[in-house]
Symmetry: C3
Subunit: 304 residues, 3 copies
């Protein structure tokens, strides 16, 4: 397997991460200034499940670098319907493109595909597995707003099923960050994740109430609580209400608190928060572009 | 709200319209000659309902200007399905792109989105509301073929529900055009539209028969009569037959009559008309490109 | 009708084919080196049925030439749903683009559209009709691996319904190739195709067993046997097994046998064959790009 695939954030050392974020900052300073950097590059987009946001920001990233993308479209319209294997589909598209982005519902799909293709591969999420570019854009947003060392970060919401959260928590163990996890009992961090974080030396605390810890936070990362996890609609409503934030909730917060959310949000953050200086989630979504530009630039450079 | 959004044709003065049409004429003279004009521009396409023609001509326009587009895809595959609000979706895409195009089934959607996004927004149709780029390409086509002043124009077909028609009629009040509306009783102009046109000083006449007025027309704008408006199939067939045109119908017309149609047509214009000099509807469709190039160029220039 | 449409491989003489393949070889040598060749070209993609592979390789081809594409999307989302005729849809898109690619389920669709549009048209498959770009990429792959003269080629699988196979067989009659057809009785070449090949002077033999002829082959072209052709699942399984290949099947083959397949494959070629020097099907898929670059380049050059 090529060693320049990006399959998981875990493969990146602190130095690797910092290199990507530094490069992203250069692109972010003037995203329209790099249109002649990879004019001949074509990125193959293999999305086996829909993910508008991730796909659009990859497309924007390669186009801001002067390149272009080709998209296999939906699974329904593709050869997958005719019974083609994932390895075959990926190899055919790798024969067209200079790098591939893969999104797939099955954990481990990216690693498997990585064994077959002979162009660099970027994992854009494989089921309950990894989603390293999301982690990197989260880290970038934290660094730009609060720094990555000497910070206290709260991560709130669905900590049980949230891939984003597990990956971010692992990545933060490379930095000097105090991590606080806030959730209802039923959506706590899985034991295995908690164990791994301890093993990696993370400073981890768990809470069931946000107000226990809110005044100490530099960053509050809110995630979506999915309605479908709750058989009972009333129970969902109650929990969603308790782990959502609005202006009143945020009163005890530090003035320079950074509020993040991977989006889409439903009711977790009241729209009234959008106009405050806390709101960093649209900036966070935007950061997907410079961070993915940095990753693509690195891969395409190395592959020349 | 930014003042460079294009939400409705009504916001454009006669001078504004003429500036756009003049610029469109420059692009139309050699559409392939402007490929270095906006090389770093990315246009975000937010189509909340399908509209192949409008979307493709916007895509062609930005690409002919050297730029590129990113497309949120269908609503079914997007975050909208997860319950995301229109304002959130639009803000995320605005974080990727340099300008947005919005198509939405709800009247007023463009104005609402315009309040949230910080890049220029082009309304590409919001329900029964506005569709200013269609109006401008209609005006451009009329000007190129018959001029915009001292003309007699007939507008025929579904005048009750046709947004295109209402918007064009309003826009023509800026020019010295006699307007004749031809339709069955059941599909006449709504009273409110007629009232507004009178208020704006338009010279408006209504007819139920085309042959009453055809010989006087410089332009005949035919619109589609939608089958689904008629509970009774026979009634539909009869009316569609009466308000459709063919070579025989057109015999009393002026030699240089310009026949337009926003397309797609079904039975309103017989294919035998396509080969005559009357037929201007494919040219009209083509004109969507230079007119949208002109609008995008104006917005992207102003936003530099 | 314009004479620069590519509607069928039959319109190409041996010299025409060789010119395309020579040009393809130049592009293939360094596909990223031609990004300034057609920077202002826009290719219109009209796919009335899904065909990921063909569409993606056309998109890649025009982008490698520096141009771009606009895509009408799926039939479900297009004006076709509103009752628009194929001729109208094609004419509208021809008004945006510099050349068109058409894929349609109805035989003869490309020829019909060719009569209406005033930009060059490439037929990318019309029902049981023609698919000339597939034939050319097959010829290119054969030439690169075994040469096109003095070869013995075996074509195996579904020879009754396989458009790809009929078109390739016809094209090979321009060259000095011995053709062997291997299939179960129920999927033999149609009598009319066999007759035409004889008329064109082809040296054609038919077999029901691969091992009768395998040792003599320079090229083995395997095609998919479609499950839906067989009312009885057991019969399908038996035949699919008999006309599939694996390492054991290939033991009697020449060392430099070239194994091809138009893909997607299901069970016709065992994955263990992928790592051998026989396997040429992924290279064949890749060859769609340089061959389509060559065709587009020729058309766009001629149309300047």
């Amino acid at each position: 397997m090529r060693d320049d695939h990006l399959l998981t954030a875990k493969q990146l050392s602190r130095e690797d991460v910092e290199e990507v974020l530094d490069r992203a900052a250069e692109f972010d300073a003037d995203p329209s200034a790099f249109g002649d950097r990879h004019e001949d590059a074509i990125l193959g987009l293999c999305f086996f499940e829909p993910s508008t946001r991730t796909k659009m920001s990859f497309e924007t990233a390669i186009k801001r670098l002067g390149g272009d993308s080709v998209d296999m479209g939906t699974v329904e319209s593709s050869s997958v319907k005719k019974g083609e294997s994932l390895a075959d589909t990926a190899r055919v598209i790798a024969g067209y493109a200079d790098a591939l982005v893969l999104r797939h519902p099955s954990q481990g799909a990216a690693k498997m595909v990585g064994e077959f293709v002979d162009v660099p591969l970027l994992n854009a999420g494989d089921g309950a597995g990894h989603h390293p570019t999301q982690t990197l854009l989260d880290l970038y947003t934290i660094r730009e707003n609060a720094g990555l060392d000497d910070i206290t970060i709260g991560i709130m919401g669905d900590l049980k099923y949230g891939r984003t959260v597990h990956s971010l928590a692992h990545a933060l163990t490379n930095f000097d960050a105090d991590q606080h996890f806030i959730s209802p009992e039923s959506l706590k961090l899985p034991r295995s994740v908690r164990y791994d974080l301890h093993e990696e030396g993370a400073n981890v605390r768990e809470h069931t109430e946000l107000d226990e810890i809110l005044p100490a936070l530099d960053v509050l990362y809110v995630t979506r609580i999915q309605r479908e996890r709750f058989p009972d609609e009333n129970e969902y409503q109650e929990i969603a209400g308790e782990y959502g934030i609005d202006l009143e909730t945020l009163e005890p917060a530090k003035e320079d608190l950074t509020v993040m959310h991977p989006l889409p949000r439903v009711d977790e953050i009241a729209p009234e928060v959008d106009d405050t200086d806390y709101a960093t989630y649209f900036e966070q979504a935007h950061n997907g572009v410079p961070v993915r530009m940095a990753l693509l630039d690195q891969m395409l450079e190395a592959d020349r």
